[in-house]
Symmetry: C2
Subunit: 119 residues, 2 copies
């Protein structure tokens, strides 16, 4: 059993927020996805992001607001948001006191070959 927590992860600053890539863990073995911790400070927002990977994001602390093309979705602690490939998105932390932490899991879709899927 191996345990991973964001509080002791090594974080860097990217996308206007704090990022902890799971490649820092040497004992993971092969996973069918990549992962990163994202920590958004109180009142903060990420810069807009867009990428070819499917993203499966679990809110692990606080409450996230995901914004995409003018639509906003609120995700409580423990909730998951699933983003399609090439879906533009920004993450907001509306709390003035609590950091927002997300475990982002992502992979390149391979439904029909190596390229991104259509849907």
């Amino acid at each position: 059993m191996r345990r991973y927590v964001s509080d002791t992860a090594e974080l860097t600053e990217e996308y206007g927020i704090h990022i902890g890539r799971w490649s820092q863990y040497r004992d993971l073995g092969r996973l069918p996805f990549d992962a990163m911790w994202c920590v958004i400070p109180p009142g903060g927002s990420s810069s807009e992001d867009i990428h070819p990977e499917v993203e499966f994001a679990v809110v692990t602390r606080g409450r996230a607001v995901y914004e995409s093309d003018g639509t906003k979705v609120e995700v409580p602690t423990g909730g998951v948001i699933l983003l399609d490939p090439e879906q533009r998105h920004t993450i907001h932390n509306l709390s003035a006191e609590e950091p927002l932490t997300i475990l982002s899991i992502y992979w390149l879709p391979t439904d029909s070959g190596d390229g991104p899927a259509d849907a």
Copy 2:
């Protein structure tokens, strides 16, 4: 953007706890893993489980204690525990008041063919 939360999931009773398989969601698309919500009532424990899949479990509410072969590991909300294939495990909720909710992500390892990996 599609949002998934355990509070509105359909749960059944298995392994002595409440289980919500993600196969209930029709709009997921293809994921490189299976998933289930696990809800363990206050003071409860799962029955012992063992399976050929790798398990990547995210604690989404409460604090979990994972027990395997006499070793106990405590995992706070937002923490992840990674279990090897065929690793026996039991989950305990030590809280007398709060339910424990876990998002369990699991897949068959395919490092060298279809069988479980050695490590």
